[in-house]
């Protein structure tokens, strides 16, 4: 059965002001006009992955990192405010499936994997996410000519 993580977060951080989850009853929509095997698909992750040659993330920043699609996952680092990363440490593909998407591109399941993949660490401010970070990521995806995006939240 699905777990109520909202409830568990409330219990875990009972000593702090309660985090206000965004609640929406509707969603925007852009139709997918062609099959995935013809799409340029972008990987977007909020797992805090960055290259050791890049600056780490900082508290409350709204930046992102561009991870070249041919990156060896052993070159990645994680900078994040909280998740159990033992398995991501063993094998980032369990939450940042760059190796697998490269294979699916080679196999023709995905038309093309967009270069680069995009990573960041979520900010607790909804306003900053929507007004500051989202436009940067949209601009990057547009510049990379993404037809579709696969998002893996952390």
């Amino acid at each position: 059965m699905p777990i109520s993580y909202i409830q568990r977060t409330r219990e875990r951080y009972a000593d702090y002001p309660p985090y206000k989850w965004a609640v929406n009853t509707e969603a925007p929509w852009t139709p997918l006009l062609k099959p995935i095997k013809e799409c340029r698909l972008a990987l977007v992750s909020s797992g805090g992955f960055y290259l050791k040659s890049q600056p780490p993330f900082e508290r409350d920043d709204t930046s992102y990192r561009a991870i070249p699609k041919d990156t060896d996952l052993k070159e990645l680092r994680i900078y994040h405010h909280g998740y159990r990363d033992a398995d991501a440490d063993l094998d980032p593909n369990c939450v940042f499936p760059l190796d697998r998407l490269r294979e699916l591109e080679a196999a023709g399941v995905v038309g093309a994997l967009v270069d680069p993949a995009v990573t960041f660490v979520i900010n607790y401010s909804h306003r900053k996410e929507i007004q500051e970070r989202a436009p940067k990521i949209v601009a990057e995806l547009r510049a990379a000519k993404a037809d579709a995006a696969l998002l893996v939240p952390v």
């Binding site: 059965m1 777990i3 109520s4 993580y5 568990r8 219990e11 875990r12 989850w21 965004a22 929406n24 009853t25 509707e26 969603a27 929509w29 852009t30 997918l32 099959p35 995935i36 698909l41 972008a42 977007v44 909020s46 050791k52 780490p56 052993k74 680092r77 994680i78 900078y79 994040h80 405010h81 909280g82 998740y83 159990r84 398995d87 991501a88 440490d89 063993l90 094998d91 593909n93 369990c94 939450v95 499936p97 697998r100 998407l101 294979e103 699916l104 399941v109 995905v110 909804h126 996410e129 989202a134 436009p135 990521i137 949209v138 579709a148 995006a149 998002l151 893996v152 939240p153 952390v154």
Partner: protein, 119 residues
Amino acid sequence: MGLIAREIERAGIPTLSMSSAWDVTFAVRPPRAVFVNFPLNHQTGKANDPRLQRQILVDALRAFELFWAPGMMLTLPYVWDPRDASWEEKDFGPGFELYGVGEAMQEGFAERKLGRAQA
């Protein structure tokens, strides 16, 4: 991330979100989501199980083509351990240590080098 998904979608790029937190995703309501009932941060599979990782992604991408209404969420039929669901009692519950060491949350953000397990 659901908020980012909605903004990318609004900008004209279709999105699929991969969730392992059903209630959070249902609340934020990204345009399309698949739910995998695995412990948090394993939406795309178990570590070092490339076959499972590939199958989950193939299923997710097939679902991407099937969604027809905004806000739909589809559960993918994966089970973490068919013989033992006790992880559901523990994941992110009392005493569940983030980072696996339980210290970094008190210290705020922390940099971690991947590949510690091999080191």
